[in-house]
Point group: C2
Chain length 330, copies 2
């Protein structure tokens, strides 16, 4: 039998138990050109909350009654497509379920000799691609520039810290709580990490980076975005990757009141969606894999067990319960 | 005798009569390397309000007791600098006064055969440079793209409309009142102009440009910026030139609540300061002068008389009282 998590009801605010239907279902059967995959790891991403809302965004919402959209990694059990055989390891948009049928063109081979399942959803997966293209292509990071990144203990932010450090740039992270901040400094190599729960981010940023910020990589929005924008340097780039602080309370989202600092500092705020860089994922993945191999990048995953725990595990993303890339083994 | 307008008191909110001291003073005397200029036209610019506030911005504030900063155009009465002679016509930062002494390196010759004094403060002056570099260098306007500009009846906005039209791009202006909107369409050539006083800018933009906006040139901020940001196309550029709606009520300034459209649309918001383009002003001025000569650009100036009317004339910029470039003949 398969076990699936389907969207039962669009949540207002934080998704709750009634958002989902978890059920046993018959094993899905692959058609021509399709694969049956046993899902070994499911990626839990902040963006998931947005996919639950009705309306136009960068991607259509998950439909009511559909299996929750998720990236995953797993093993091919049955192949009806050329180029794939049982036992192959793959990743793709497998959804929150134990077994998935996908068109083979939506499955990408992964090499467990390079990294285990979880890592293909983290630094070698979408979060990795997001950090890489956000920092280098949108943020246009140059040697010697200063970087600040919010949600620095998270999947994307943690890699942004490390990529900037590997480039030799001063980096300050922002994260919630002492334990996360310690990880950001000690494991990811940030020069400093500001605990936003412990005080005035604006003042702490000014202390940590008196010279100001060249690239601010924002995952959170709200008051932290505003604080960072107070300290922009001339021609700074503010990379809008996400705004997790507002995902469960859309009415609370506001723009940075000090957006005119963009004018004063001749600075730029730019959004991006990682899918646009798909033709260049191989390049980024090779770069990150090389850094993993020689230790310039470490991967931190927070792995949970049990597909039935998907609902409460997802909410931890928004309450700060995870350290590093959050992955569920179904 | 000279007659000067000096900053007496930093205003909170709209500048009032007590903001200024207007007085007769002895004629200033040029020293070595300086010119005495009779000011024939004084430029009134929205940015002036910002110069009255204490604190760090893109330019230091006007000091208490100082002659109010302003661009101007006039005639050299006395020269103690090589390359200038009495009768030469010049422009520069002459301040709000009848006679100015300036270092000759801060005076730029102007040719009244090309355009009268007023025009050198308008389409051939800072507003012209602002429109040109904002639209082409920050906005990166490309053939066939759609442009929306706020304060489209103003000095900068009116030229943005015309430059975009000259490029063959669809342009929609936003302005306050029927008379201004008529001018923006009939004289500047906009495809449409939305009267923000007459209804829902957001809905009107969607009607006028169902395909969305590629370049939004913002002079006003507030709800109009937000409305325009609802209709961004993929990879749109939002050019932050100013935010006149908030200049007299800084506490009211807020960022666009829908700034995450930058992410959804992979769009960019970027500020600029025209001074940075000074090395290229000659290029822009030549381009605009050619368009003036062949009629692709028309200049609309709103010329007032009498230096003593500076205080109330300045406030008209913020209450929408002017049509086109506001100039005071002292």
């Amino acid at each position: 039998m398969n076990r699936t998590v389907r969207l039962a009801k669009r949540p207002t605010g934080m998704p709750g138990p009634d958002t989902w239907t978890i059920a046993e279902e018959p094993m899905p059967v692959p058609g021509e050109g399709e694969l049956l995959v046993e899902v070994k790891a499911i990626s839990l991403d902040p963006a998931m909350r947005g996919w639950l809302n009705e309306g136009k965004s960068y991607i259509p919402p998950v439909g009511l009654g559909e299996v929750m959209r998720a990236n995953g990694a797993g093993v091919v059990l049955e192949s009806r497509a050329p180029g794939f055989a049982p036992g192959d390891t793959v990743m793709g948009g497998f959804g929150v379920q134990r077994y998935a049928v996908v068109a083979s063109r939506h499955a990408e081979p992964i090499d467990l000799g390079v990294a285990p399942f979880e890592r293909w959803l983290g630094v070698l997966g979408m979060p990795g691609m997001t950090a890489w293209f956000g920092l280098f292509d949108v943020g246009l990071l140059r040697d010697g520039e200063t970087v600040v990144v919010s949600a620095a203990a998270g999947a994307v932010g943690g890699l942004v810290v490390q990529l900037a450090r590997a480039r030799g740039c001063p980096v300050v992270g922002i994260a919630g709580g002492e334990a996360k901040c310690r990880m950001v400094v000690e494991r990811f190599g940030a020069d400093a990490c500001i605990d936003y729960k412990a005080g005035d981010v604006r003042a702490r940023l000014a202390e940590a980076l008196p010279q100001g910020i060249d690239v601010y990589f924002d995952n959170v929005g709200g008051g932290i975005l505003e604080a960072a924008m107070t300290h922009l340097r001339r021609r700074a780039r503010v990379v809008i990757c996400g705004a997790i602080s507002g995902y469960n309370d859309v009415a609370s989202i506001r723009g940075p009141r000090n957006y005119l600092n963009l004018l004063i500092q001749r600075a730029r705020m730019e959004g991006f969606v990682v899918f646009d860089y798909a033709p260049r994922f191989a390049e980024a993945r090779a770069g990150i894999a090389a850094m993993l191999a020689d230790g310039r990048v470490v991967a931190v995953e927070d792995v949970r067990e049990g597909i039935d725990r998907f609902p409460e595990t997802l909410t931890e993303l928004y309450t700060g319960g995870n350290m590093g890339k959050l992955v569920l083994r179904p």
